[in-house]
């Protein structure tokens, strides 16, 4: 409580004090609030009873952000409350408090932040701290962050801090300390002859290190042999040897990147390496980590193409070597999944999440707009999108014939950079057509063909025993009655012989711009192999928006599944009940 008052005072007193002094005046307070409240009910069909709910019939997640800005100074905080955490959020979030506050000052070429902050080096292969409220994901860094721009085109960053772990405050050695530096250089700004060049080149590099005290950790290995005595008896001998891990106290990682842009052409590549980092996610093996992420794109008016590849090996990097749980906490780096994030609910039934310790991924996408007033394009033009992505294992070989892959305390395995293994993790091929038929009618149609290795993605079992093959079709139809009133109808189908079988979905959404929406939705698992589980997941919702205030109420069933944002997923169990959401900005 005292801590809380202190923070409030720092944040509120400083500007008030400065204001009365006349040093700074005309400051600004802005903020936003979101509260989600759910009332759960028993549902025999879904197997939900008071005891499966742990008698927690009511869940609330909420936050309030307040930012004070005055010229080059700003300070802010985020108040959070999980009372109790809503279903699908980790129970360790239960509580209220201020897990995030900061003060920032910019003077000349230097910007300093003290407190909590979010930062990203390059594409995040070695460092990214971020938050995503809907996922319950927050790995903010608590410490100092400096950004220095000594000359145009040069950005240098340095940071040191500790990361958030639910509500647990940092204590000496309770988790690691993260340090990092990053430099980014825009060659066109730095070198005069390149100032006006149409080719824009940016280079960057980062180094990140984690300090974590090593505590004694041992492993026992047995070796056995036989001996035949002079009397002809057989004796089995076993020698048990105890090994002590030499755990690295400092684990470093570095990355180099480049971006090359020339008109519609763009090439980005980032390569990263990590020093040996035995930890709970890699069975305490001593192998180094390696990653490459690159994208090339070309686009011009009406046409866009991009190809991305990613190869990662043993790149889990956390600020505690003992952390491996779910939800992912204490992540220092970010390894994006490179499949497409879909917008339709049945297309997100089988989403992909990155396998940090070994994966090859590819994605390609083409967008083409058939011009307006052409034969095929119609009066308004037609947009076509094709997208293909897959993820597979990388090749892993034993380091010696008597040491199985991933043996703890060893180098684990051997691999070759950019090698592709045989085990498929995921594949997604999809097409989308968008067409405006008239000033009143818009139609979208989509088809998805997905292959999903359920064992790998959901259970971390590296085999092909549970593959799901799904076809998904969507038709999305909007009819505009007049400037304010419109009706959107969405028909979806998912067909698969595996997992929970076939699904059909319908959504009707009536909108009155700019304030109201009403929707009715049903997803029906009519193909479930167990007739008792052929369930309707119905939902009724309405919402009211008034400028930046938005209130929505939803009643219905939430289906079990993975909710993913940016390749990080959260498991959401099935539930039934009423959800009230209030969001507001000021």
């Amino acid at each position: 409580m005292r801590y809380f008052i202190r923070i409030i005072c720092i944040i509120t007193l400083f500007p008030a004090f400065a204001f009365s002094q006349g040093i700074l005046s005309g400051g600004n307070v802005t903020g936003n609030v979101q509260v989600d409240a759910q009332v759960y009910q028993e549902d025999e069909k879904l197997g939900i009873t008071d005891s499966t709910l742990n008698y927690k019939k009511f869940g609330t997640n909420g936050f309030a952000n307040i930012i004070y800005t005055n010229g080059d100074f700003s300070a802010g905080m985020r108040f959070e409350g999980f009372l109790n955490p809503m279903i699908g959020f980790d129970q360790r979030y239960e509580g209220v408090g201020i897990p995030y506050w900061f003060a920032k000052y910019k003077t000349g070429s230097l910007e300093m932040t003290a407190g909590h902050f979010y930062e990203q080096f390059g594409s995040g292969l070695v460092l990214r701290s971020w938050e995503e409220w809907t996922l319950g994901y927050d790995n903010n860094i608590y410490g100092f962050n400096a950004k220095f721009t000594p000359a145009k085109g040069v950005t240098l960053k340095g940071l040191v801090g500790v990361q958030r772990f639910f509500w647990e405050p940092y204590e000496a050695d309770s988790r690691g300390i993260v340090r990092g530096i990053d430099g980014e250089f825009n060659l066109n700004d730095i070198f005069e002859p390149m100032n006006d060049s149409k080719t824009k080149i940016t280079l960057g590099g980062s180094f990140v290190s984690r300090y974590e005290k090593a505590v004694s950790k041992t492993i026992e290995r047995d070796s056995s042999w036989m001996e035949i005595t002079q009397l002809g008896d057989t004796i089995n001998w076993i020698t048990r040897t105890t090994y002590e891990y030499q755990l690295p106290v400092n684990v470093g990682s570095w990355a180099g990147r480049m971006n090359l842009a020339h008109g519609g052409f763009n090439l980005y590549a980032e390569y990263a390496e990590k020093g040996n980092d035995p930890n709970a996610t890699n069975d305490y093996i001593y192998k180094n980590g390696q990653a490459l992420y690159s994208t090339v794109s070309y686009s011009t008016k009406g046409f866009g193409l991009f190809l991305s590849t990613k190869w990662i090996d043993n790149m889990h990097y956390k600020s505690s070597r003992y952390e491996s749980g779910n939800p992912p906490m204490l992540d220092i780096n970010y390894l994006p999944a490179i499949s497409k994030e879909h917008q339709y609910s049945l297309a997100t039934m089988y989403p992909y999440a990155t396998k940090q310790n070994g994966e090859f991924g590819f994605q390609g996408q083409i967008i083409y707009t058939i011009p307006k007033k052409s034969k095929l394009g119609g009066k308004y033009g037609t947009t076509l999108t094709a997208n293909y992505s897959f993820a597979k294992s990388i090749k892993k070989e034993q380091i010696a014939s008597d040491i199985p892959i991933d043996s703890t305390g060893t180098d684990g395995y051997k691999t070759t950079f950019l090698s592709i293994g045989d085990l498929p993790f995921y594949r997604d091929l999809n097409f989308l057509i968008e067409k405006k038929m008239s000033s009143k009618v818009k139609v979208k149609a989509a088809y998805f063909n997905q292959k999903y290795n359920l064992h790998v993605i959901e259970d971390d079992l590296y085999d092909e025993e549970n593959m799901v093959y799904a076809h998904i079709g969507v038709i999305d139809f909007t009819y505009k009655f007049d400037r304010r009133n419109s009706l959107r109808t969405e028909l979806q189908g998912l067909w698969t012989k595996e997992d929970e079988g076939d699904w059909a979905g319908i959504t009707l959404e009536y909108n009155v711009s700019p304030s109201w929406f009403f929707s009715v939705m049903d997803e029906y698992n009519y193909g479930h192999p167990d007739a008792d589980r052929q369930i309707h997941y119905y939902n009724f919702a309405f919402g009211y928006t008034e400028k930046t205030n938005r209130i929505s109420v939803r009643y219905g069933r939430q289906r079990e599944g993975l909710l993913c944002v940016g390749g990080v997923c959260r498991y959401v169990p099935a539930s039934t009940g009423l959800t009230l959401t209030i969001t507001s900005s000021f």
Binding site: I5, N28, N32, Y68, Y293, G304, Y334, Q343, S513, K547
Partner: protein, 173 residues
């Protein structure tokens, strides 16, 4: 002692609120660095349109209503620019997973407005955006004067009305 601290806090809060009363804007656009599609840095605090209004939208390639909003605006954008001189900056909050797909999408869809990248959400946080789409209108002095959460079919008509009111110097309410 604790009560005294609380009292001082309350007074200071009311002082800030009082300071707020004087100007009826959400303040200037915060000075946060984002990136252009060429990979260059861009300071949002320096955004300008020769004294004419600016619209800033927050969006992402995976956000269905955002794409709808931009498709709808794109159809009328040329007229908006001709009639009012307004400029639209669409700030993508796509992270490293999808940010490289922003330019191909924008070009593929023939969107005519300015695009910026806010990969780690720094500008999004500074602007108090919960989820996209979230739209802001900036007056000729660079102050945020209006904002709107979400997008429903037809909302874009309201944006241009606000812009027209700003140009004519009429009250927004």
């Amino acid at each position: 002692m604790k009560k005294l601290i609380l009292l001082v806090c309350l007074i200071s809060v009311s002082l800030i609120t009082f300071a707020q009363e004087e100007s009826k804007t959400y303040g200037p656009v915060p000075s946060i660095t984002v990136k252009t599609l060429d990979g260059e840095t861009f300071d949002m605090g320096e955004i300008s349109n020769d004294g004419k209004p600016i619209i800033i939208t927050f969006w992402a390639t995976w956000c269905k209503p955002c794409i709808k909003e931009h498709d709808a605006i794109n159809e009328v954008y040329e007229d908006w620019v001709d009639e009012t001189g307004v400029k639209l900056y669409a700030v993508s909050i796509d992270n490293a997973r999808s940010s490289r797909g922003v330019l191909p999408l924008v070009n593929g869809k023939n969107w005519e407005f300015e695009i910026l990248l806010d990969e780690n959400g720094d500008f999004k946080r500074a602007m108090n955006v919960n989820v996209p789409p979230h739209t802001f209108i900036i007056n000729g002095n660079g102050e945020i004067v209006w904002q709107h959460v979400g997008y429903l079919e037809g909302d874009e008509a309201e944006y241009i009305e606000i812009v027209e009111k700003l140009i004519e110097g009429k009250p927004l309410e």
